[in-house]
Amino acid sequence: MLEAHDITVRLARSEILQGVSVTAEPGQLTAICGPNGSGKTTLLRAMTGDLPYTGRVTLNGHDIALLQPWELAAMRGVLPQASALAFPFTVLEVVEIGLSRGRAAGQSRAALQALARVDLAHHAARPYQSLSGGEQQRAQLARVLAQVGAPSEAGAPRWLFLDEPVSALDIAHQLEVMQIARDFADAGGGVVAVMHDLNLTAMFADHIALLSRGQVLAAGRVTEVMTSDTLSRAYGCQLRVGAAPPPGTPFLLPHAARLAAE
């Protein structure tokens, strides 16, 4: 269980978040949505301990402010929006950096498996810096997966915090990455993801916390939050949530297409 209670973040004297409270359950994919500047990433970064905040964040019952970095790292992995790398490490070496015990037996294997999971095993020996932006994002996801390991162990769920995990990806890899997150949750882990794409969110998430101007506008199950009225209010434009597109409008919902085929 992840509980963020009454989180306030001030950056450069302005309040980015004002008393935000959200919870996320293990076994579920919780999406943080909202317009630009609504505080999505700030909330995620507060919950991963990257930003000073007032309030209280507990992960599996532990106040994260009281945990050592390595204790937190054993419980959760964090995928940032973008990662610059300083030295010419290979893709595999980047993934191995996330592994805690250097290179005990099987560690390299775990790293390779994580790379295979994100469809990058064939690039393992390449310099990370030579990958495209989207490939780098997937390599970082592999690093996070290798660090976290099993979605839950001895009844304690592990957590993934993903900051716009699909923003740089093509449509096939968007689906693949979201499916990885979905599988992690289905296996008992917890996933918290900052999402821009509302259609992908609707397809993969269980819960949504919808932010607007540093506050929670709505939170709950996807069907409860994703209503025309709520979304229109959050994003400040006319939005219509429908179960089917208007006749004659081309549309693309690949996940829905797959579900229909099954």
């Binding site: 970064r45 991963t48 301990g49 990257d50 050592q68 970095p69 390595w70 204790e71 937190l72 790292a73 054993a74 992995g77 964090v78 940032p80 990662s83 610059a84 790398l85 300083a86 030295f87 010419p88 490490f89 290979t90 595999l92 070496e93 980047v94 950096i97 996330g98 805690s100 250097g102 290179r103 390299s108 390779l112 498996q113 295979a116 999971r117 469809d119 095993a121 064939h122 393992a124 020996a125 810096q129 660090q147 096939a172 890899h173 689906l175 693949e176 499916q179 990885i180 599988d183």
Partner: protein
Amino acid sequence: MVALTDPAALDAPAPPDRLARARRLTLWLALLLVAVALTSLTVGATGVQLIDVARSLVSGEELTRMERVVLLDIRLPRLVMGLAVGAALAVSGAVMQGLFRNPLADPGIVGVSAGAGLGAILAIVLGSLLPPALLGIAGAHLVPLAAFLGGWISTLLLYRVATRRGQTSVATMLLAGIALAALSGAVSGVLVYLADDTQLRDLTFWGLGSLAGASWTKLAAALPILLIAMAGAMLLGRALNALALGEATAAHIGIPVQRMKRLAILCVAAATGAAVAVSGGIGFIGIVVPHLLRLASGPDHRALLPNAALLGASLLVGADMISRSVVAPAELPIGIVTAVLGAPVFLWILLRQRGAVDL
């Protein structure tokens, strides 16, 4: 799961293991170090040959007084100092580059050596003004200690100025280094006016960098600091690897980032400070050595740091042999030799980096 993963990919041959290669390299570098060290003992202005000495020792003959003085009091301390200073400079360079996340960072280039030099000069010129009791306690350690403090303050200043939210601006770092070096130079200039003749001779020696002043007394003061600083640096391997991904990610991986940064800064300051205190401003070792090693076996700091110590030691002792033999029986200041060897490498890195790095 979406079936994009090729199951055969897992069975493909594992990519080359650069860490294992780097560990093998460690062995070769250790052999190189032994070879260079032995050669260095045989090179010198006098005709004393290591092989003769070894023969005398084996056959039980007494060493001549000349042989003993040349080997034990001149060449040996100089060799030990060369090894320790070379290792310390190379390790400092590797740690700074990891800390600043940039292969161009080097204690000499960004003004840490200048700060350490200023500390040393202050100690030489103003040390006699200290109360005799305090001077008695500090003794031979005063100059290394002052150099360490100077290096430490400059590193802290530099890090404050050049790093914002875990990101280091290369331009700011280099410019701050220039400012620090200029400031140290100005204060040193003032001190030169205050200095008497003996002090002046000591000061001139800082500017050029040399191992000629090596003695067991100096070693006794500097060697413990150098060894402790390098031992501390060896603990930083995994942290520096993680820092390559940025401070936030390093913390996510479980690295106590602030603690590791403090340790890194302390090690760089201590190693550079003690090295500058005994041998003056010897440049470029810290930039050339880690760069060559990264080309040979990758950037993994767990192997890079020990390998840098070994190669740095060999390189400086090798440069010292050149400095002693090119214009024998006089000698070239070693700082000149390392600059001639190192500056082109620095420019080469700059050229390769242009475009890749946001200067």
